[in-house]
Symmetry: none
Subunit: 248 residues, 2 copies
């Protein structure tokens, strides 16, 4: 492999993941640490990345990333970390859209190998950064509000999928009313997603607990996992605990 190609490879990794570990590159490229260090140094000289102890970081990552604008980002990261624990190698996972799911994707471990179906283009793009994840984007009408595909075509395609786990964000959850939503189309969509997965995990920041909206997606019993940023023993969750769903 030519040096230039190695540099390109490194830059791709950086642009993709915003970071690289020296040790990873040594393995991936099959060269000595020294070579990688020299490569990184040269890329630094060209002003293409930041070098840090253990690897390198993307330059753009620090300056221009609007991660901060995500509402309640810390909570969503906490939720994401818990959700990651549910993912095992070889799984077939179906995900919805939304910023919580997006944070979850960013927290997946590098080497993970799995198949992901998703109705969210942004989630697909983020998932594509993992080499061993197969990404299938479910196509259809694209919703300007929720930034996911929806409509009959999506539901038809969902009906052909059999997933081990479905991860979905939520608009509202209530101990008695279960999962609810405001829009008919999204409601239908969620029903279809639930139907095609063995188990479903609901990612839900605490402020959406105990709310019931107009349309019912499913009773609380249809959900396998409820993931919030709260401690498992937090009192807000007590009424959900009684319902025998796993709380993370």
């Amino acid at each position: 492999m030519l040096k230039k190609e190695r540099h390109d490879f490194i830059m791709r990794q950086i642009n993709l993941h915003n970071r690289v570990l020296t040790s990873d590159l040594v393995q991936l490229l099959n060269v000595s640490e020294d070579t990688i260090r020299r490569d990184l140094q040269e890329l630094v000289d060209e002003n293409l990345l930041y070098k840090v102890h253990g690897g390198a970081l993307s330059k753009s990552y620090h300056s221009s990333f609007d991660d901060s604008t995500v509402y309640a980002r810390d909570s969503k990261i906490a939720i994401g970390k818990k959700a990651v624990r549910l993912i095992k190698d070889g799984m077939v996972v179906l995900t919805g859209g939304g910023t919580t799911i997006l944070e979850f994707v960013k927290l997946l471990p590098q080497g993970i190998s799995a198949t992901f179906f998703t109705i969210s283009p942004l989630v697909a793009v983020e998932l594509a950064k993992y080499n061993n994840i197969e990404v299938i984007l479910i196509g259809g009408l694209f919703s300007k509000n929720s930034q996911v595909t929806y409509g009959g075509q999506v539901i038809t395609q969902l009906s052909e999928i059999k997933a081990d786990l479905c991860l979905m964000g939520t608009s509202a959850i209530h101990p008695e009313e279960g999962l609810t939503d405001t829009y008919w189309e999204i409601n239908q969509l969620k029903k279809a997603m639930l139907a095609c997965a063995k188990r479903t995990a609901v990612l839900c920041i605490s402020e959406k607990l105990d709310i019931a909206l107009r349309l019912r997606v499913c009773p609380i019993e249809s959900i396998s996992y409820l993931i919030t940023e709260l401690d498992v023993d937090h009192e807000s969750l007590s009424r959900y605990k009684e319902k025998e769903l796993n709380i993370l």
Copy 2:
């Protein structure tokens, strides 16, 4: 073997594999290293390839070096502006992916009303910013490299679409060889896209002119519009003009 033949051989290797090693060429062509180096140097002088220590790389292989700063952005905006002129209210348009298409989308006039099918999630997200554009994302396997959906499912769905216009980016275009590409899946995809649109516009920055890659997508006659950043009367385009396709 004549020098010219050797040069052609080298260029073929480059277009095929995006790279060549000096040592390989020495073996394959049975000449001294010096000769190969001289050959490569001459090809560099003709602006046909990129020379690096150990061999040479294709010029069109800009890799995916800088994701953050779109390569040749100005040219792509110029192309985008021209492409916008083709879009009329009420049209059904099919688009591929790539940065050129993305720039085009950003340049669309606000009020425009149309239906867009696309295989690119990023394009879909961008299109969603227009209130009167209906966006249909065609789903399927998601390609990590080209960031578009591909595969049998995509092609099946494409076959059910009838679009007025197809806009696609290009890897290479050549007056005799037509549209060509390196990857089988992308090749198939482009064929399917062409087949479902009445007319096709190819968005192509000038440096991709006169290049022929391994796999043929279609002859030049199947294309309706060729859009580059160059002036219509630029001499680089003269050989395309003869082919009676519209040049913008």
